[in-house]
């Protein structure tokens, strides 16, 4: 593999000029550093990066010139790199830099060829230099804003399916050319060698294991980035920034010999000193002395627990992170529309013709992420104690004095058996990538068994429903709840919509979508909207819908927008569950506390023991649904109390 000195020497022997090569039409003039004729460069184990001025066409006019960063790969160029660049082009995000791969840009003396990636040049400091400047300028409050900004960006990127995999002090840059007020808008992530994007079918094996001062010791070189890695690293950065803001002495800005910050190597945590393996190191002693404001204490606790965990994958780390870290941020801020600088000289004519003005928005409007993040909403709503309209005897029990949220979260945590595989605690987006195979098999298996059951039932309609149910989300297939219930041969009675007049309805949104969609990976929204209008037409008092957090990943782009619109148009009644909290427990609690009927084909048997009062209410106020030939039919079990009214 080429060495850094080989690449830099070659560039110098080329007098710091790269002519158009192959499909690359650009001339590059590499910028000298302090020393004349020697390029300014940044390097690591995998690449050498030099700043350059790119210009297209012959000679390049002044107008065409743009500042770029050229990244030359030392080791073999990661095989998935073009998938990453095309993902970024298709899913532009303001924190990602534009990049283009060019093969065989440099031919070395021994015949080896080096690939090059042309990237946007970010005008500004790396995160560690920014922290130094910020502390020296006395504005340490900005550190908290930065911590939250990075948290927001990481969460947004995870939501669109971009896992950076090597976030560090040097791969996060602060773009000073962005003159906005908010720091979050200035955050730019660079270095995409370790990136995994949604949809990569064969994640390459890699020796890229991320910066050791930011990675959990259990990160392996034999596997590719996983969500645990992304969130662990984010927590390391988040906790570092919060801790420094509370105690800037940890950083020792401007001094020569520092205890915890090692210039150019880290923020506070140092892997060789055991900071990411044990929580009794000198750094941890200092971290424990700090008072962490508000929710940030959770970050410290979560990180501490992760550091004390020998293997992150398969631990409950993700569900802990998802309880709060991955849910928005303290000051939720919608992702702005990308105003990407258009590099005219380097674009196809089609692109440049529609983008003559540098400041006009990107022609492809942002889809999924252009809306405010929905996840914090339910949290806000739920943290208020729900008024219980009809006081009942049971309400006097001390447990009910807890807020709804308090009931929901622990119930969910307990519900998961300890020996359940880690995939259960992963968000669905991750499951889609890695567990597709397992999911298919589980669903197949369940469908088989369900079909058998259905045969016994001898009723054609029931058979159809049973097999449909079995095809549902893997979670349900695995639980096989539906089977248990079906064995009881419950008697169902058709219900007229009119009968529900004056009642409150809570719809299990994900369940309803599964019932009416033929493709589980691309859900139909229209039938659900029909169902809602049927309930509304029946003069029900209210219709609430609660979705799983993962539901939004299961739409086509078009349906996603509509889904988002639906949620936004009725924030009072339509809710998406926070991550890691399945909608189930929320549905049961909301229904119980607001005395609503539940519309779902799930029987929620897992909750019978955990939230008996809520489950008891549900079992007597439960409507099932089926969608056949475009017609919704609703049924109730014969012992449902509302039928008596």
């Amino acid at each position: 593999m080429p060495s850094a000195i080989q690449i830099v020497s070659k560039l110098r022997l080329m007098k710091l000029k790269i002519p158009p090569i192959g499909v690359n039409p650009n001339n590059y003039k590499i910028q000298s550093g302090k020393k004349h004729k020697k390029p300014k460069s940044w390097a690591g184990n995998f690449a050498v990066v030099v700043p350059a001025i790119a210009s297209s066409g012959e000679g390049g006019t002044l107008r065409d010139q743009r500042k770029v960063a050229l990244r030359f790969f030392l080791a073999k160029t990661p095989s998935h790199i073009t998938q990453i660049t095309s993902f970024i082009n298709n899913n532009p995000h303001p924190s990602l830099v534009d990049c283009k791969m060019y093969r065989n840009m440099l031919t070395l003396k021994n015949g080896e060829k080096a690939d090059m990636m042309e990237m946007d040049f970010v005008e500004g400091p790396t995160l560690d230099d920014w922290v130094e400047q910020t502390i020296l300028s006395g504005s340490k409050d900005k550190l908290v804003e930065m911590a939250e900004g990075i948290r927001t960006v990481v969460n947004q990127l995870v939501n669109i399916g971009f896992y950076h995999g090597d976030l560090s002090h040097s791969n996060i840059m602060i773009d000073e050319s962005n003159t906005g007020q908010l720091l979050v808008d200035k955050i730019r992530l660079i270095d995409y060698d370790s990136v995994l994007v949604k949809g990569i079918s064969n994640p390459p094996e890699t020796k890229e294991v991320g910066h050791p001062n930011f990675q959990h010791p259990s990160r392996k070189s034999s596997r590719f980035t996983i969500l645990e890695d992304v969130f662990f690293t984010s927590l390391v950065i988040y906790v570092s920034l919060i801790a420094i803001s509370e105690n800037p002495n940890l950083w020792q800005a401007g001094t020569e010999n520092r205890n915890f910050h090692s210039k150019g190597d880290n923020l506070l945590f140092q892997s060789p000193r055991g900071d990411l393996e044990r929580t009794d190191t000198d750094l941890w002693v200092e971290l424990d002395k700090i008072h962490y404001p508000g929710e940030t204490k959770k970050a410290l606790d979560c990180l501490k627990k992760a550091v004390n965990t020998s293997k992150l994958e398969g631990s409950d780390f993700l569900s802990q992170v998802e309880e709060w870290f991955s849910i928005g941020t303290l000051n939720v801020h919608p992702i702005p529309v990308v105003h990407r600088k258009i590099n005219k000289g380097n674009r196809t004519s089609k692109q440049s013709s529609s983008n003559n003005n540098l400041s006009i928005p990107s022609p492809k409007p942002r889809k999924k992420v252009s809306k405010p993040m929905p996840s914090p909403k339910p949290r806000k709503k739920l943290s208020k104690p729900m008024p219980s309209p009809k006081p009942r005897k049971k309400d006097t029990k001390p447990k009910l004095k807890k807020t709804l949220l308090e009931q929901v979260i622990p119930a969910e945590t307990k519900r998961k058996p300890a020996n359940k595989s880690s995939s259960a605690s992963r968000p669905k987006i991750r499951q889609e990538i890695l567990d597709q195979q397992a999911t298919k098999e589980a669903a197949k298996e369940a469908a088989k068994e369900a079909a058998k059951e259905a045969k016994k039932a001898k009723k054609a309609k029931k058979a159809k429903k049973a097999s449909k149910e079995a095809k549902k989300a893997p979670k349900e297939a695995n639980k096989k709840n539906t089977q248990k219930i079906r064995k009881k041969k419950l008697k169902t009675i058709p219900v007229q919509f009119e009968k529900l007049s004056g009642m409150k309805i809570v719809i299990d949104g994900a369940n309803a979508l599964h019932e009416c969609s033929s493709d589980m990976k691309s859900l139909d929204l229209l039938p659900l909207q029909n169902l809602i209008s049927l309930f509304e037409a029946a003069s029900t008092e209210s219709v609430s819908i609660i979705f799983d957090a993962s539901t939004r990943y299961k739409f086509s782009d078009e349906n996603f927008l509509q889904f988002q619109k639906l949620i936004d148009s009725n924030k009072e009644n339509y809710t998406v569950a926070p991550k890691a909290t399945e909608a189930d427990s929320i549905i049961l609690n909301v229904a119980y506390q607001t005395q609503s009927l539940v519309v779902s084909n799930d029987f929620f048997v897992d909750y019978k023991k955990q939230i008996p009062e809520a489950h008891d209410w549900f079992s007597k106020n439960h409507i099932t649904m089926s969608y056949v030939a475009g017609i919704w039919t609703i049924n109730a079990l014969h012992d449902n109390q509302f039928l008596e009214k």
Partner: protein, 269 residues
């Protein structure tokens, strides 16, 4: 290696009279070739630790030539600090360069070539011990010191059979990250095939090779893996930090390997 916990690399270069001989099949002398390889390695380290216009002080280096009856600092352009070492950052400003046309590489000429007199290898090791010890005491969390001895012949100030016992105190120097490593890399005018990083069952060319083998450290698995993946080397179990009859390409690889202790220079880009 990090700024807080820098690495320590001490190069001992045999500058005895025999180093004037032509190196194997090459067109240049052993002493010039050895200097070129060492300078190549320093140049690579400088690039690897570059951050814009700065070079991070992640490594402290020592260059000691031994010839005649003396052990001398081998770079007239730089003087060592009181610990007998110099920071990589300082070396970054070297203006004198040599173009290695064979490889199209511009090499900063930091270590100078020299060749005269005998081979005071024992004296050199004895002097290195205190430098390495001192470093380990002052940098308890660093990757342990790495000592690379480049030589073309037998010591003239001791019996070659005593080399293992002369070197063993160095191997006892330790930091929290392990014990110091001693590489012995033999180069010679003999153009026959080299032996490198041999395991315990590998046959060595002669009894002197055995002595040097026994005076070399066991190659840590972390370095063996770097050698396999980054340099495509075939390295067996329990390999030793030793090579016999190395050519210049091999010497550069081994120097690169020796300098990648602690997980490599930098992980920034």
């Amino acid at each position: 290696m990090s700024t807080n916990d820098p690495g320590c690399l001490i190069i001992m270069i045999d500058q005895s009279g025999s180093m004037q001989n032509k190196w194997g099949r090459s067109k240049y002398s052993l002493n010039w070739g050895a200097a070129r390889s060492v300078n190549h390695m320093i140049g690579e380290l400088i690039q690897r630790c570059a951050k814009g216009d700065e070079v991070a002080p992640r490594v402290r280096l020592g260059f000691y030539g031994y010839a005649g009856a003396d052990v001398e600092w081998a770079s007239s352009k730089y003087t060592p600090d009181s610990d007998g070492l110099v920071s990589l950052t300082e070396l970054a400003d070297c203006d004198e360069e040599v173009e290695d046309e064979e490889n199209e590489i511009l090499i900063p000429w930091i270590v100078e070539e020299k060749a005269y007199g005998g081979t005071p290898m024992k004296t050199a090791f004895d002097q290195i011990i205190s430098i390495a010890e001192n470093f380990a005491q002052n940098h308890p969390d660093s990757f342990p010191p790495v000592i690379v001895n480049i030589t073309d012949g037998m010591p003239t100030d001791c019996n070659e059979n005593d080399l293992p016992s002369i070197v063993s105190p160095i191997m006892n120097i330790s930091t929290t990250d392990g014990t110091a490593l001693v590489f012995n890399i033999h180069i010679s005018a003999d153009p026959s095939d080299p032996v490198f990083l041999p395991g315990p069952n590998e046959k060595l060319p002669d009894s002197y090779a055995e002595c040097l083998y026994n005076a070399s450290s066991l190659l840590p698995e972390s370095l063996a893996n770097i050698g396999r993946t980054d340099h495509g080397m075939t390295i067996g179990e329990d390999a030793k930090c030793f090579a016999f009859n190395a050519d210049s390409a091999l010497l550069i690889k081994l120097l690169s390997l020796a300098s990648s202790g602690g997980g490599g220079a930098d992980r920034d880009a």
